[in-house]
Symmetry: C2
Subunit: 392 residues, 2 copies
């Protein structure tokens, strides 16, 4: 590892690509004539091939969960606080796999991919994908990597939903599932916020019914607005209060002239940064997948019966300041798991960072998470590095 | 009163106009060369002229608070549940005055008014107005009506802020103030939601830097989006859940095809309806007034000292499901009033309707409110009708 990088980093990593050459039928019954998933791996797959951990990303995440893309890289992957040597997901013990979801915009097949049938980007013609579709495409990636069973499948927010679906759809392939800051289905308010975000995008004249790339434009305004709304829901009111309060960036409030509050400036920055790199059609597709997720639907609306399919153990983590997916929503999952007589541990972690908490270095969170994961490593006999057992 | 209208209605009402012919200097130091306020009155001003109640409206409200504009009118004024004979604000005892705020779009001088200097609508050139400016313009209306002192000044949300400012700015003119579902200043999250709404409007290409009326267009999309965001914050998550749940309006969720949830359809309806009648420049101006409101600022950031100016008694009402202005924000006001040794009563009213609760017929709310207001009527000796004292 280059000396410039932190000692507990997985170091410089390089994405790989998995190409599935065959037809893949989606839940919506449409067929992709092959697809590609871009992914990264950290740590070493042991000879029993049983120490793999699958990371499932959330709405705007990607495959780059940990490490750096070069020694000069200013920012590590999005979950670097949880993945690395000695971290909660300990790469001294686990082989971590992280892929960009189908329909994403970071390299996997999605709206930005050239449709071989037309020679043009799929754009709005990219089919609807669901959490089920992600699980099935990830299962093909696992086959490709010759991973029969994951030691753990782990995710926060929309990623937690994927982990839950994995446990239900492929019980024999999951030893443990970690569901962080998620819910068994979206509430009306969750759907409402998603729809506001979608409407911001689709009502932007530059959206061009989704053919913005074909017409050399981009719905920057709509995508920026969508992100601004989303961002408010990722933070807690108290956290925002402590971070920004009513601090003024410019203007004169006494004479009510041209006032810009810090929080406004921050949101605009977030919106602009997001709209520069994220794909609008992917945003629509990801929020739709969130809205549609409801594993109980296939089991007469019984979450207990849905989760009864699972054979794995579960860890359910939530944060009281998270109002997008409140602790109450996690408790629903825990209660259903208990009723389904599953092995479940859960913790509610104090933090004033709202939904974003799952991405942040909160000691009690990373410690509880790490202790539990270390036990998973013990259970599957994961031991790929000389540092063990005193790595933690 | 026409027989078709409910017996407890103030009946058919007609707006009046107050014309202030002189220059009026705003907090921003700009001068309006005269202005007009449209207003309605309900009940009878007694000979002592001491039974007047001023109603202050919220963001999207207007002067039409009670009664009907014709016998065929399908909908009464926006606070008809609280204003009328025998209601919380009992028009058998009180003379109620309700005006459209300066800068509004329902008849008072505002962005839609023709600027005599240019012969065109003010549009975006209408000056910034503040809660202070509203109070001062309402005070001129009170002078015009020869009301030296109001029996009560009453408002919910932004209206409550006006009532608070009245008590601070003109202590000698207020006998009682009722502050419902409001806050002493906006939080960072409140400002953030307002800014998203404003950005939705100003980034709509049809906004034309505010000159949409001059160019015969209207930022319908932006205004609709602003209303959609706002609307989510007016409702509680539980209330939305009970009203809409995950009910589907159209499409097939099993195959993830063209699904529209009821809550999406509802929000779109609200957005469209709003954008048809409300003025975008007024929306910007009203949300700015909300953001800027902070009466403590003039008193070294001490709300206690600001409220110490008041001489009136206070009623502070809030609703636990209101997350836009939570009960905690009302408790801040109550605590400051107690520290300032003011006469304050407060109640927290159970309701799952969120911020909208203050507009709704919730028994415990209208009863507590009514009992307190009836006492106010007793105190000022309000008795204008034969029905009293057994009207309630």
């Amino acid at each position: 590892m280059p000396s410039a990088l932190p000692a507990d980093s997985v170091g410089v990593v390089k994405p790989a690509a998995f190409v599935h050459p065959d037809d893949f039928t989606l839940q919506c019954d449409r067929v992709l004539h092959g697809f590609e998933l871009v992914y990264e791996t950290y740590g070493t797959l042991n000879s029993d091939r049983n120490n793999a951990v699958l990371i499932c990303h959330a709405l705007s995440g990607d495959h780059h969960a940990a490490g750096f893309h070069s020694v000069d890289d200013a920012k590590p992957g999005w979950w670097d606080v949880c993945i690395g040597p000695g971290k909660a997901i300990d790469t001294n013990r686990f082989y971590v796999v992280s892929c960009n979801n189908l329909g994403g915009c970071s390299g996997s097949t999605g709206p930005r991919t050239i449709n071989k049938d037309t020679g043009q980007q799929f754009g709005p013609l990219f089919p609807t994908v669901t959490v089920n579709d992600w699980v099935e495409s990830q299962a093909l990636l696992a086959n490709h990597l010759k991973i029969e069973k994951f030691a753990a499948i782990v995710g926060g927010s929309l990623g937690g939903m994927q982990a839950m679906q994995w446990a239900i759809s492929h019980p024999e392939r999951v030893h443990a599932a970690v569901l962080i800051a998620c819910a068994a289905k979206l509430s009306a308010q969750n759907i409402a916020f998603n729809e506001v975000a979608r409407h911001a995008i689709t009502s932007d004249p530059d959206f061009r019914n989704g053919y913005y790339a074909h017409e050399n434009t981009n719905p920057d305004r709509g995508l920026g607005l969508a992100r601004m709304v989303g961002h408010i829901t990722y933070l807690s009111p108290d956290g925002m209060g402590r971070k920004f309060g009513r601090e003024i960036k410019s203007g004169d409030i006494a004479s009510a002239t041209n006032v810009e509050f810090q929080v406004e400036s921050y949101l605009h920055y977030q919106g602009r940064a997001f709209s520069r790199h994220f794909d609008a059609n992917t945003y629509l597709l990801m929020t739709r997948a969130l809205d549609y997720f409801d594993p109980a639907r296939d089991f007469d609306d019984s979450l207990d019966r849905a989760l009864a399919q699972a054979q794995c153990k579960f860890l359910v983590l939530s944060f009281p300041s998270d109002w997008r997916f409140s602790t109450h929503r996690s408790t629903e999952i825990v209660d259903a798991l208990v009723r389904a007589r599953k092995n479940v541990a859960s913790a509610i972690i104090q933090s004033d960072h709202g939904h974003d908490s799952f991405l942040l270095p909160i000691d009690r969170y990373t410690e509880a998470f790490g202790i539990w994961m270390n036990q998973v490593a013990d259970e599957v006999g994961a031991c790929t590095s000389a540092q063990i057992p005193d790595a933690r």
